[in-house]
C-alpha cells in the first residue's frame, strides 16, 4: 500500500513528507529528481517511476508534485486516484492547493493525511466525513476557538462513516431547500487543415449542488437517456435502477458533488459549433510570414458563442508577430512563442479576425512545424449532445424543494491543425 508521500515544489525542494509505515528516506526522491531533469517540461515527468526498491507515483498540480512511494504491488491507479483525492481535499479546505497554502496549514494537512490513510489503506476520503473529523480553517473559527477554547477536531464518530450512505451525514438542516444541477459538456476535437473533423467527442458531467434537509431520495430522468451509454456514477447512484429504467435514483451527498460523468463517443455525430479559417504561411528565403485567422459560428443551435480564446504555439523561428485583431486583444510572447488572442463573443454578422505578419530570424530557413490552434469557448444554455433533463422528483421528505437545471457547452481539448 501507499508507504509515504513527499510534496515537492517547482524548484525541487521537498517541503512536506508523510510516512504511513516506516520512514522512507528522502533520498528515494533522487530518482524522481532525475526524471524531472530528463523531462523537457514539468508536465512531461512520467507518472510511474521505478526505482530498485520502490516505485514512485506522482501527479503534478499547481506546480506541486505529489510523489507517493510504494514498496509492494499496488494498483498505480489506486495511488493516482488517492493523490487526486488529496489534491481535491486540500483545495476544498484551503481554497487552493499550492505550496503556500500547504505550508500555512501544515498541521491541518498532517491531520488530514493521517485521517485519509491508515497503514497505507484509505480511511476517510469523502470530504463530508473529513469535514466532520477536522473542520476546515476559517478566520471566524480561529477567532471563536481562541475565545471559547474549542478545537477544530470533531469529538464524535462521523455519522456517515459506517452508514449505508457514507457520503451523507445525518441531521442536515436548511431553511431554504434547494437542488441545482449543472449539465456541462466539453467538446474534445481535432480539426484538420481543411476544416474537416478528425475526431470529436463529448465529455459531459452533471455537477450538483444539493442543500436539502433530512434524507431526501431523488430521482432524475432524461428526455433522451439513450445518449448515455458510457457513464460513470457517483457511488450514491443506484445502478440497478439505471440499468432497468434509465432513471437516476439516489440519496445525494450534502453540498457540491459530481453526480455523473459521461462520454459521447466519436461514433455519434458531434456538432462542431465553431469554425476557423486560417492562413499561416512562410515563404522560402523571406524573413516574413503571413498570419490570418477568422472565426465563425457553425452548429450553435442559435446560441451565442462566448468567452472565445485562441492560443497557438508559433514555430521557434518566429521572432515577433505584428497583428491586428478586429476585436478583442492579443499578446505574443517572443520567448515562449505563445500567441494568445482573447476574442470575447462571436458576432455572426461581423466575424472576428486577426491578421498581420510574423517576422522570422533573418537567414533562417522556413520553419518545419505547422502550429496548432487551440480554441476555448463557452455556449450557455446548450448541451451540445442534445441531452435534456426531463424531471426531478424528491421522495422521503415532505417539504417542497427549489429545483434548477443549467446547461453549458465548453471547448475541452479543441484543436485546429494548420
Amino acid at each position: 500500500m501507499i508507504h509515504s508521500l513527499f510534496l515537492v515544489n517547482a524548484s525541487g525542494d521537498i517541503f512536506l513528507e508523510k510516512h504511513w509505515k516506516s520512514v522512507v528516506s528522502r533520498s528515494v526522491c533522487d530518482y524522481f529528481f532525475e526524471a524531472v531533469e530528463r523531462a523537457t517540461e514539468p508536465e512531461n515527468v512520467p507518472p510511474v517511476i521505478p526505482t530498485p526498491h520502490h516505485c514512485l507515483i506522482n501527479v503534478l498540480r499547481q506546480r506541486v508534485y505529489f510523489v507517493a512511494v510504494i514498496q509492494s504491488e499496488v494498483p498505480p491507479l489506486f495511488v493516482i486516484e488517492f493523490l487526486h483525492r488529496v489534491v481535491d481535499t486540500f483545495q476544498d479546505y484551503f481554497g487552493v492547493c499550492t505550496e503556500a497554502a500547504v505550508k500555512d496549514n501544515v498541521v491541518v494537512v498532517y491531520e488530514l493525511l493521517e485521517e485519509m490513510l491508515d497503514n497505507g489503506f484509505p480511511l476517510a476520503t469523502e470530504s463530508n466525513i473529513l469535514k466532520e473529523l477536522i473542520k476546515p480553517p476559517t478566520i471566524l473559527r480561529t477567532v471563536v476557538n481562541t475565545i471559547t477554547g474549542s478545537t477544530n477536531v470533531g469529538e464524535q464518530l462521523p455519522t456517515g462513516q459506517l452508514s449505508v450512505v457514507p457520503w451523507r451525514r445525518t441531521g442536515v438542516k436548511y431553511t431554504n431547500n434547494e437542488a441545482y444541477f449543472d449539465v456541462v459538456e466539453e467538446i474534445d476535437a481535432i480539426i484538420d487543415k481543411s476544416g474537416s473533423t478528425i475526431t470529436a467527442e463529448i465529455q459531459g458531467v452533471i455537477d450538483a449542488c444539493v442543500k436539502l434537509t433530512g434524507m431526501p431520495d431523488l430521482t432524475l430522468s432524461f428526455m433522451n437517456p439513450r445518449l448515455l451509454d458510457d457513464v460513470s456514477f457517483h457511488p450514491c447512484v443506484r445502478f440497478k435502477r439505471w440499468e432497468a429504467e434509465r432513471i437516476l435514483s439516489f440519496v445525494p451527498p450534502d453540498g457540491n458533488f459530481r453526480l455523473l460523468s459521461y462520454h459521447v463517443s466519436s461514433q455519434n455525430l458531434v456538432a462542431i459549433p465553431v469554425y476557423v479559417k486560417h492562413n499561416i504561411s512562410f515563404r522560402e528565403g523571406s524573413s516574413q510570414g503571413r498570419f490570418e485567422l477568422t472565426l465563425g459560428p457553425k452548429q450553435t443551435m442559435g446560441k451565442a458563442v462566448e468567452s472565445v480564446l485562441v492560443s497557438s504555439q508559433l514555430p521557434r523561428g518566429v521572432l515577433n508577430a505584428n497583428l491586428s485583431p478586429s476585436q478583442g486583444t492579443y499578446t505574443f510572447d517572443p520567448v515562449t512563442k505563445l500567441l494568445s488572442w482573447d476574442v470575447g463573443k462571436i458576432n455572426p454578422q461581423k466575424l472576428p479576425s486577426l491578421k498581420g505578419s510574423m517576422s522570422l530570424q533573418t537567414g533562417a530557413s522556413k520553419p518545419d512545424e505547422n502550429p496548432t490552434i487551440n480554441l476555448q469557448f463557452k455556449i450557455q444554455q446548450l448541451a451540445v449532445s442534445g441531452l435534456k433533463v426531463n424531471r426531478l422528483d424528491m421522495y422521503g421528505e415532505k417539504y417542497k424543494p427549489f429545483k434548477g437545471i443549467k446547461y453549458m457547452t465548453k471547448a475541452g481539448k479543441f484543436q485546429v491543425r494548420t
Binding site: 500500500m1 521537498i14 512536506l16 513528507e17 508523510k18 510516512h19 516506516s22 520512514v23 523531462a39 523537457t40 517540461e41 508536465e43 512531461n44 512520467p46 507518472p47 510511474v48 521505478p50 526498491h53 509492494s72 504491488e73 499496488v74 494498483p75 498505480p76 491507479l77 493516482i80 486516484e81 488517492f82 498541521v107 491531520e111 493521517e114 491508515d118 497503514n119 489503506f121 484509505p122 469523502e126 481562541t146 478545537t151 477544530n152 477536531v153 469529538e155 464524535q156 464518530l157 462513516q161 459506517l162 449505508v164 481535432i190 484538420d192 465529455q203 458510457d230 460513470s232 457511488p235 440497478k240 459530481r258 462520454h263 463517443s265 461514433q267 518545419d368 481539448k413 484543436q415 491543425r417
Partner: protein, 901 residues
C-alpha cells in the same frame, strides 16, 4: 544549523510544560509542524508524551501523530505511553478506541507490540464496526512488525472470520489486510476462496467504499471459478463496477472480466455482450487526467494485443493531441499501430504524417518509425507508406530523413523487389546521415542492391575513408556490404574488398569485426562459389510484428491488469521476487573504531577531541568472519580479532572493508597531527564486521544481534541498514541515543530478516551497511557467509532428490575439490548437518563413500550435492547441482569452510 535548532527546542520545551492547556496544544502543533518539514524534534519526546493524558481529542491526536513518528527512536520512552493506550482502548467513545488501536499499530517498537495483543483481540470483536475495521488493518501492521506473533496469537483466523462480517467496510478491510499479509507468504493460502465467501465478497462489493471495491475486485481476480456458470455469474455482478467514477475501480473490474472471459464459451451471447461492455469504460479512462491516461494506455496496450476486437472501432480516441504530455503521446502511438488495419490505415497514415511535423524530436522519430511498422503490418498500405516516407525525406529535416531510411530498410526486407526504385532518392541523402543506425541502414541497402546502383563502389568507398571512426555496427555492416558488392561485381571492386578486409582484420581491435573479417577472407580465398551461396543467400522475410509481447508473458500480464506489472510490462516476480522471504536469524557483528586522525571542529565535539589525540588505536586491517560463534556476542574486540573462536572460519578471506564516506563532511578538519593529513578519510574509522548464526540455525522471528564496539569519538549512532541479494533487512532500524564516550563500547542487537527488497549483488553474499551518526552517514560492505541462509527444512525426500537430480540439466553441475581434509564420512555428515546441510543417503561404491546431500536457501533455492570421499585421499570431490548455478561457488566455499574447522 545544529545550534539554531537547539534554541528552538528549548523554547518548545518550555511551552510544552506550560500549565495552560491551550498553550500546550499550540506547542504540540509547532512540534508537529517542525517534524513535517524534517526537523529533528525527537528530544522533546518526554514533554510531548506528558501532554497525552488529556480529554481534548485534537491534542490527543496530535500527540499520537508525534508518537508514531518518534517512538521507534525512543523505545524506552514509548513504554510510558502504553498505559494511556490501553486505557483508551476501553474508552466508551468508539472513535477513541479505534484511534488508540490504530496508533499503537503504527508504533513499530517490539516492547509496545507485546502490549497491543490484548486490546487488539478485543477490538477485533468490538461491537462497533468502525473499531473492527480499524482493528483489521492493525493486524496487517502488526504482521509487518512481528509476523510470528500474529500467527501465534491467532489473529489470522480472526481476520478470516471478519470476511463474514455483517458490515461491508469491515469485510473490505479484512480482505485488504489479508491480501497484504499474503504477499509475504506466497505459498500459504491465507485467503481461502470458496463459493461461499466469494458470495460474501460480491455482496460487500456493492456496498463498500470505492477503495474497498478495489481490494475486493483484486481479490476476486485470484479466484478460479469451478465452471463457466460461476464465472458468468461473477462477471454479471462485477460489470456494474465498470461505471464507477473511480478509475482504479474500473480497471480492477476490467481485470476480473478479462480474466474470466477466458472461461466463457466463445460462441455464447454473453461472451460477446461482455466484450462490447468492456470498450466504453476503457475509452472513458482516456478522458481522465494525463496520469490516469498513462496507466490506462499501458494496460490498453496489453488488452489490444490479447483481444484486439474490443477496441478495434475506437482507434480515433488514440489520436494524439498536440498538448498531450510526451509519455501519453508515445503510448498512444504504440496502440495506434497495434490497431492499424486495412480498414483504418488511411486515417492512421494521415495522422502519422501530421505527427512527423511536430516539434518534439523523440515523438517525431517514433512517428516516422510507426509509418514503417504500418507498411510491414498492413501489406495493402505498403505503397502508401513508402510514398509518405518519401515525402518526409523531401522535407530534409535531418532526424526525419535518418529515421525514414532506417524503416525503409525494413520495408525492403519485408517486400523484396518492390520498392527499389526509390533507392536513387535515398542515395541523395547519403551525406546528411550522421547517426550509426541510419548510416548502417543506408550501407545495408547499398550492399544489398549493389547490382542496381551504378556507383555503389564509390558510395561504399566514401564510407571507408573514416572506417575507424565509425561505430562497430557501421563497421560490420560496411564489411558485409563490400563483400556483397565484390561478389556481385568482382571485376571492379577487388581493391575495395582487400582494403576493407585488411582494415577489419589488421587494424581493428574489435574481436567481432576481426572474426567476421577473417571468415569472409577465408571464404573468398578458398571457395568463391560457396562464399556467394553463403553471403548472397536468400534471407527470411522479417515478421509482421516484431514488438509483440510474448504470449505466455502476455497472459500473465493480463492477469495483473491494473497492477504495477501491467505498467512495467514485466511479470511481477521480475521486480518483487524474493520479497517473500522467511524470517531468518543471523547475527551481524560490527566493530567501528576510530584511529583518531581526524576530528570534527565543532564546539560540541571539541572536548571529546582533546581526549582523543593519543596515538591511534593499533588495529590490524581487515577482520575475520565468524560462523556459529554465539559466544562472540559477549566477546569484545580482542576476542574477535583473536580469530579462531567457536566455529570461526579460519580460511575465509579478510572481509573488513574500509569505510567509504558518502561525502566529505564540512565539519571535518584536520587534527593537530599533520602527518595524518595525507592518509585520507579512510583513516577516520576502520571497520570490520562478522556475521554468524545462532545455534538454532534459522528460527523464524527470533532476534538477531549486532555487537558494536565504538572506540573514541562516536558521539551518537543513529541508524543502521542493510541491503542484500537475499532481501536481508533489519526488522527495525537501530538507533542509539546515548553518546558514546571515548573508549566506551556498547553491545547492541539488530534483528534482521529476509523479507526486504531483493537486489542481486555481486558477489551474491555482499552485505551493505549504512551507519549514520552525528557526523555523517557512512557506508561499508562486507560478505556474509552463505550458510546463514541455509534453512532448517532443507532436507529433501529421497525420491524427490533423485527426480530433481535428474531434472536439473547437466550443464548446471559444477565440480569442486575440497583439499586437505581428514575426516571420515560420518563426521562430515555431522558437521554439515549442524549447518543445515542434510545427508539424504550414503553409499559405498568401490571403496569410496558417496554422500548425497541437500540444502535450501531462504529464498527457496535448492542445492543438491554429491560428496565423494576416498579413504586415504585427503581431497574430496564435491559435485553441486542447482537451478541457479551462480550460487554453487558460494556453497562450495561454505563446504570448504565448514569441513576445515
Amino acid at each position: 544549523m545544529l545550534l539554531s535548532v537547539t534554541g528552538e527546542i528549548f523554547e518548545l520545551k518550555a511551552e510544552l510544560n506550560n500549565e495552560k492547556k491551550e498553550k500546550r496544544k499550540e506547542a504540540v502543533k509547532k512540534v508537529i509542524a517542525a517534524m513535517t518539514v524534517g526537523k529533528d524534534v525527537s528530544s522533546l519526546f518526554p514533554d510531548v508524551v506528558n501532554c497525552m493524558q488529556t480529554d481534548n481529542l485534537e491534542l490527543k491526536k496530535l500527540v499520537y501523530l508525534y508518537l508514531m513518528n518518534y517512538a521507534k527512536s525512543q523505545p524506552d520512552m514509548a513504554i510510558m505511553a502504553v498505559n494511556s493506550f490501553v486505557k483508551d482502548c476501553e474508552d466508551p467513545n468508539p472513535l477513541i478506541r479505534a484511534l488508540a488501536v490504530r496508533t499503537m499499530g503504527c508504533i513499530r517498537v517490539d516492547k509496545i507490540t507485546e502490549y497491543l495483543c490484548e486490546p487488539l483481540r478485543k477490538c477485533l470483536k468490538d461491537e462497533d464496526p468502525y473499531v473492527r475495521k480499524t482493528a483489521a488493518v492493525c493486524v496487517a501492521k502488526l504482521h509487518d512488525i512481528n509476523a510470528q506473533m500474529v500467527e501465534d496469537q491467532g489473529f489470522l483466523d480472526s481476520l478470516r472470520d471478519l470476511i463474514a462480517d455483517s458490515n461491508p467496510m469491515v469485510v473490505a478491510n479484512a480482505v485488504a489486510a489479508l491480501s497484504e499479509i499474503s504477499e509475504s507468504h506466497p505459498n500459504s493460502n491465507l485467503l481461502d476462496l470458496n463459493p461461499q465467501n466469494i458470495n460474501k465478497l460480491l455482496t460487500a462489493l456493492n456496498e463498500c467504499t470505492e477503495w474497498g471495491q478495489i481490494f475486493i475486485l483484486d481479490c476476486l481476480s485470484n479466484y478460479n471459478p469451478k465452471d463457466e456458470r460461476e464465472a458468468q455469474s461473477i462477471c454479471e455482478r462485477v460489470t456494474p463496477r465498470l461505471s464507477h467514477a473511480n478509475s482504479a475501480v474500473v480497471l480492477s473490474a476490467v481485470k476480473v472480466l478479462m480474466k474470466f472471459l477466458e472461461l466463457l464459451p466463445k460462441d455464447s451471447d454473453y461472451y460477446n455482450t461482455l466484450l462490447k461492455k468492456l470498450s466504453p469504460p476503457l475509452v472513458t479512462l482516456l478522458s481522465g487526467e494525463p496520469e490516469v491516461q498513462y496507466v490506462a494506455l499501458r494496460n490498453i496496450n496489453l488488452i489490444v494485443q490479447k483481444r484486439p476486437e474490443i477496441l478495434k472501432q475506437e482507434i480515433k480516441v488514440f489520436f494524439v493531441k498536440y498538448n498531450d504530455p510526451i509519455y501519453v503521446k508515445l503510448e498512444k502511438l504504440d496502440i495506434m499501430i497495434r490497431l492499424a488495419s486495412h480498414a483504418n490505415i488511411a486515417q492512421v497514415l494521415a495522422e502519422l504524417k501530421e505527427y512527423a511535423t511536430e516539434v518534439d524530436v523523440d515523438f517525431v522519430r517514433k512517428a516516422v518509425r510507426a509509418i514503417g511498422r504500418c507498411a510491414i503490418k498492413v501489406e495493402q498500405s505498403a505503397e502508401r507508406c513508402v510514398s509518405t516516407l518519401l515525402d518526409l525525406i523531401q522535407t530534409k529535416v535531418n532526424y526525419v530523413v535518418q529515421e525514414a531510411i532506417v524503416v525503409i530498410r525494413d520495408i525492403f526486407r519485408k517486400y523484396p523487389n518492390k520498392y527499389e526504385s526509390i533507392i536513387a532518392t535515398l542515395c541523395e541523402n547519403l551525406d546528411s546521415l550522421d547517426e550509426p543506425d541510419a548510416r548502417a541502414a543506408m550501407i545495408w541497402i547499398v550492399g544489398e542492391y549493389a547490382e542496381r546502383i551504378d556507383n555503389a563502389d564509390e558510395l561504399l568507398e566514401s564510407f571507408l575513408e573514416g572506417f575507424h571512426d565509425e561505430s562497430t555496427q557501421v563497421q560490420l555492416t560496411l564489411l558485409t556490404a563490400i563483400v556483397k558488392l565484390f561478389l556481385k561485381k568482382p571485376s571492379e571492386t577487388q581493391e575495395l574488398v582487400q582494403q576493407v578486409l585488411s582494415l577489419a582484420t589488421q587494424d581493428s581491435d574489435n574481436p567481432d569485426l576481426r572474426d567476421r573479417g577473417y571468415i569472409y577472407w577465408r571464404l573468398l580465398s578458398t571457395d568463391p562459389v560457396t562464399a556467394k551461396e553463403v553471403v548472397l543467400s536468400e534471407k527470411p522475410l522479417i515478421s509482421e510484428e516484431t514488438d509483440l509481447i510474448e504470449p505466455t508473458l502476455l497472459d500473465e500480464l493480463i492477469c495483473h491488469i491494473g497492477s504495477l506489472a501491467s505498467v512495467y510490462h514485466k511479470p511481477p516476480n521480475a521486480f518483487v521476487e524474493g520479497s517473500h522471504g522467511i524470517h531468518h536469524n543471523c547475527i551481524l557483528m560490527l566493530i567501528v573504531y576510530n584511529t583518531g586522525h581526524y576530528c570534527p571542529s565543532g564546539d560540541l565535539l571539541g572536548d571529546l577531541l582533546n581526549l582523543d589525540l593519543g596515538p591511534p588505536v593499533n588495529v590490524p586491517q581487515g577482520s575475520s568472519m565468524q560462523i556459529g560463534a554465539v559466544d562472540l556476542l559477549g566477546g569484545g574486540l580482542d576476542s574477535l580479532l583473536g580469530g579462531d573462536l567457536g566455529g570461526g572460519v579460519g580460511g575465509s578471506p579478510a572481509v573488513g572493508q574500509n569505510f567509504i564516506p558518502s561525502s566529505v563532511p564540512n565539519t571535518f578538519a584536520p587534527s593537530p597531527t599533520p602527518a595524518a593529513l595525507s592518509s585520507g578519510l579512510n583513516d577516520l574509522f576502520e571497520l570490520s564486521s562478522g556475521m554468524s548464526i545462532a545455534t538454532g540455525g534459522y528460527v523464524a522471528s527470533k532476534t538477531v544481534s549486532i555487537t558494536g564496539h565504538y572506540v573514541h569519538m562516536f558521539y551518537c549512532l543513529y541508524f543502521f541498514c542493510c541491503v542484500f541479494s537475499f532481501g536481508v533487512i533489519p526488522t527495525t532500524p537501530l538507533a542509539m541515543h546515548t553518546p558514546l564516550m571515548p573508549s566506551q563500547s556498547i553491545d547492541i542487537s539488530l534483528p534482521l530478516n529476509t523479507i526486504g527488497p531483493v537486489m542481486k549483488m555481486d558477489p551474491l553474499n555482499n552485505l551493505q551497511v549504512a551507519v549514520k551518526n552525528n557526523i555523517d552517514v557512512f557506508y561499508f560492505s562486507t560478505l556474509i557467509p552463505l550458510s546463514v541462509f541455509f534453512v532448517e527444512d532443507g532436507k529433501m525426500e529421497r525420491q524427490v532428490f533423485l527426480a530433481t537430480w535428474k531434472d536439473i540439466p547437466n550443464e548446471n553441475e559444477l565440480q569442486y575439490q575440497i583439499k586437505d581434509c581428514h575426516l571420515n564420512a560420518d563426521t562430515v555428515s555431522g558437521k554439515l548437518q549442524n549447518n543445515n546441510i542434510y545427508t539424504i543417503a550414503k553409499r559405498n561404491v568401490e571403496g569410496q563413500d558417496m554422500l548425497y546431500q541437500s540444502l535450501k536457501l531462504t529464498n527457496g533455492i535448492w542445492i543438491l550435492a554429491e560428496l565423494r570421499i576416498q579413504p586415504g585421499n585427503p581431497n574430496y570431490t564435491l559435485s553441486l547441482k542447482c537451478r541457479a548455478p551462480e550460487v554453487s561457488q558460494y556453497v562450495y566455499q561454505m563446504y570448504d569452510a565448514i569441513l576445515k574447522n
